[in-house]
């Protein structure tokens, strides 16, 4: 075991560096692509370089949100092979809870220009929201999916859709059908908190969201890769029965997976509120669909793949939006999904495994 580990580690680490390098190259390439596209468009050609930079920042934060949600899809699918349709709605609940804690409980509605209180406040929001959405997800698994674990495949899938609608309509009943504004505690308009370049301002918020997401993802990566529970998760994903025979507590491991997925969706909800400034009961459907697309794009069951896919979906969407095709961004994302499923169903990082449903 140790021999394998010691032999495997350097290989894996160098692959990781390669991946990071490739991502950096990708971001730079994306910038130039945007630059070219914006320059060709007469309406944006005079501020193209600054606009492109702004859109890159935008894409990073939106991609980070999708990546956080996609992780929940990919982990749950990896472990029990269920598309958890309710996951997007868990994210929506997280966004609402963040409004409740920031606006309602802490009473913060205005901008905070000091770094330390701002970070403390967001930490409080995350610490409050993440366990709650995690537990919500665990509860959904316990009461709705666990009884159906050995049922025909269609049963848990239909149940998941039902749960998704229940969550959506509970939110509708509680919060109404319109947009609810989310407290904008991040000082978007303060000059010290944004970057002025060529008449275009880029708020630091985008980089902040990116950083929060990266910290959470690295933490997850380390948890799954290095801890005993993480190993239990990986072994359950690989072969549930064999894992049980090796002494892995399946129920606990599956619950843990839902807990982690839900917590990350909650974090995504918190940063969604910061980025977009509103929450609505039907956020979950579209965000969930895009995040699922991200998970498939990256290779379902693959954590790095979900992150990569999330950023790619964010990039694609922002690209379409910055060229003035905002209304078609859904269309573009689903077309991408269709092409991925048809031409490379295993995703970018997915392995070509032949096994039966």
């Amino acid at each position: 075991m140790t021999a394998i580990a010691s032999r495997a580690t350097p290989v894996r680490r160098s692959r990781g560096y390669m991946l990071v390098l490739l991502c950096l190259v990708g971001v730079v390439a994306y910038y130039f692509l945007l630059l070219i596209a914006l320059t060709l468009n007469p309406a944006t050609s005079n501020a193209a370089s600054a606009l492109a930079l702004q859109q890159v920042a935008n894409a990073l934060s939106i991609g980070a949100i999708y990546a956080l949600i996609a992780l929940g899809y990919t982990m749950v699918y990896g472990i029990i092979e269920l598309i958890n349709f309710a996951h997007g709605d868990v994210f929506m609940v997280g966004a609402f809870l963040s409004v409740v804690i920031l606006g309602g409980v802490l009473g913060q509605t205005s901008q905070i220009t000091d770094l330390i209180p701002l970070i403390l406040l967001l930490a409080v929001a995350l610490v409050f929201v993440m366990p709650l959405t995690g537990l919500l997800n665990v509860g959904i698994e316990r009461f709705f999916y666990r009884p159906l674990r050995n049922a025909p495949r269609l049963a848990p899938l239909i149940t998941a859709i039902g749960v998704s609608f229940i969550l959506q309509n509970v939110a509708l009943a509680v919060a109404g059908s319109g947009d609810r504004s989310s407290p904008q505690i991040f000082p978007l308009r303060d000059n010290a908190w944004r970057w002025e370049i060529g008449g275009i301002s880029i708020p630091f918020l985008s980089f902040f969201i990116f950083a929060v997401a990266m910290v959470l993802m690295v933490a997850l990566q380390q948890f799954v890769g290095r801890t005993r529970l993480g190993r239990a998760m990986r072994s359950t994903a690989q072969d549930r029965e064999a894992a049980a025979l090796m002494g892995v507590d399946l129920n606990q491991t599956i619950a843990l997976t839902f807990l982690l997925g839900g917590a990350l969706a909650g974090a995504a909800g918190v940063v969604w509120g910061l980025q977009f400034g509103y929450v609505r009961f039907d956020l979950g459907l579209n965000a969930g669909l895009k995040a699922f697309t991200a998970a498939v794009l990256g290779g379902i069951g693959n954590i790095t793949g979900a992150v990569l896919g999330g950023f790619m979906i964010g990039f694609i969407e922002v690209f379409a939006a910055s060229l003035g095709y905002t209304r078609w961004s859904h269309f573009v994302v689903f077309t991408v999904l269709a092409f991925v499923l048809v031409f490379r169903p295993a995703g970018i990082l997915g392995q070509q495994l032949g096994e039966r449903a």
Binding site: L154, T159, G162, A237, G305, F334, T335, A338, L353, E355
Partner: protein, 455 residues
């Protein structure tokens, strides 16, 4: 449940041999199409009369009831079509409303002042269905090779983008406003009683009768399909795709056919609906429609045509008449909280709860097909119980019953094997697509099992 209780329950479900019900059941098995037509006529006569008598006539007047029945028919038609895809072939289609939209928009383009065309209704009914079927095949051809879960998400995406396309392609569809002033049907010359002559906005009876005819024809066709070789292949795929493929069923073609049939039915519903409401707009085809129809299929009992039709009908009536009635009833009450509740707004909450409860407690639906019920409730089969618990004293009658059931089960197994064999004859060759092992492109390339949670 104790063994004897199970036996008693099993025994009570059986029909009394020689009784009237038994004779009717026997007749309807032998003359299925006739009995469907007779059943539809009786049922429509029944609801026609029921709408005139007190408990129902207090909710709506007769004309409004007929109008409601005609609208309910659209949902019944949709549920029947989705039942082919979800119930018979076991494919989860979450974007079913898209095909409904194609049917409706086809008729809108064919007969409205906006397009300048005015084609007759009856041919367009089939053209609309054909257009929907073509899109069904276009969506299905690449995606049906994938695993079931991917199909669900793919259809969900498709269902999302179709209304978006209709919404954004403003020069061709007038965007949010939709296409209005669509021609109403005129099918038979005016001297034909009841249904002849052009349909007017108030001719609810004509729309009602037209819907009954469409439904009867659809149900006859669907029953015949279900009992055909194709229908047995669908069932085989639903129960075990690998086994079906190994027995020579061409899984991709068969699934594609289910998709096309489902889309065709939705196309019929779309054309009819467009001609009745006389306006189509993207918001008629959002995900909630697909979800409603799915809930109807699940509640009615996946795979059972009558059950699904009746379930969809009852759900639509509850949703459109009784929830509205409850609303007005409670709003009149001086109780502050209750009078604020908007029952119609929570219909999707009710659907969600119903779906979850059905899946957890009664997955076969309210009106299950015999086969699905037997699959889901085998342990309650007295013959099995008797076999496993040999110590239980069975009365002679119960023993006979158990033996009969066991024989029936054997027969069913044999039938299933024969069905698979039949389907195998259809297949072109054993090593073409759908031979032993996974069909090409179905699983090896999808990454099938996610394998492991990789770092």
């Amino acid at each position: 449940m104790s063994a004897s209780a199970a036996v008693r329950r099993g025994g009570m479900n059986r029909l009394d041999p020689g009784g009237v019900r038994h004779r009717i059941a026997k007749f309807s098995d032998a003359h299925r199409s006739t009995s469907i037509v007779v059943g539809m006529v009786l049922f429509s006569a029944l609801i026609f009369v029921l709408a005139l008598v007190p408990p129902f006539s207090t909710f709506l007047n007769h004309q409004s009831w007929l109008n409601t029945f005609a609208s309910a028919g659209v949902l019944v038609l949709l549920a029947l079509g989705l039942n082919v895809v979800v119930g018979l072939a076991g494919l989860l289609d979450l974007g079913y409303a898209a095909f409904f939209a194609f049917g409706a928009y086809t008729y809108a383009f064919a007969a409205s002042p906006f397009s300048g065309n005015d084609f007759p209704f009856l041919p367009m009914l089939f053209v609309g269905a054909a257009v929907a079927a073509v899109f069904g095949v276009l969506l299905g051809a690449p995606t049906l090779r994938l695993r079931g879960d991917y199909l669900a998400i793919m259809t969900l995406g498709f269902g999302e983008i179709v209304p978006i396309v209709f919404l954004n392609a403003e020069p061709y569809t007038q965007g949010t406003n939709g296409i209005g002033g669509i021609s109403r049907p005129e099918i038979l010359p005016s001297w034909v009683p009841f249904i002849g002559g052009p349909f007017g906005a108030l001719d609810n009876l004509k729309y009602f009768l037209l819907m009954i005819v469409i439904l009867a024809v659809t149900m006859v066709l669907l029953y015949r399909l279900q009992d055909s070789r194709i229908g047995r292949a669908w069932t085989a795929i639903r129960e075990d795709e690998l086994a079906a493929a190994a027995s020579g069923v061409n899984t991709v073609t068969t699934k594609l056919l289910a998709f096309a049939i489902g889309a065709t039915t939705a196309g019929f519903a779309g054309v009819y609906s467009a001609s009745k409401i006389t306006i189509v707009s993207p918001n008629q085809f959002y995900f909630t429609v697909s979800f409603t129809v799915l809930a109807m299929v699940v509640l009615g009992g996946m795979g059972n045509i009558w059950g699904v039709a009746f379930g969809a009908f009852v759900i639509y009536i509850i949703q459109s008449v009784f929830l509205t009635y409850l609303n007005t009833f409670f709003q009149a009450l001086p109780i502050p909280i209750i009078s604020d509740i908007n029952f119609v707004q929570y219909q999707f909450l009710l659907y969600g709860v119903a779906l979850v409860l059905m899946m957890l407690l009664r997955p076969e639906g309210l009106f299950p097909s015999k086969r699905v019920q037997r699959v889901l409730h085998t342990p309650e089969d007295p013959s099995l119980v008797a076999a496993t618990a040999g110590t239980v004293d069975l009365t002679a009658e119960q023993e006979l019953e158990a033996e009969r059931l066991a024989a029936e089960r054997d027969l069913e197994t044999r039938e299933a094997l024969e069905a698979a064999g039949d389907a195998a004859e259809e297949a072109q060759g054993p090593y073409e697509e759908g031979a032993l092992g996974a069909p090409p492109g179905s699983d090896e390339e999808t990454g099938g099992h996610p394998g492991e949670l990789r770092r």
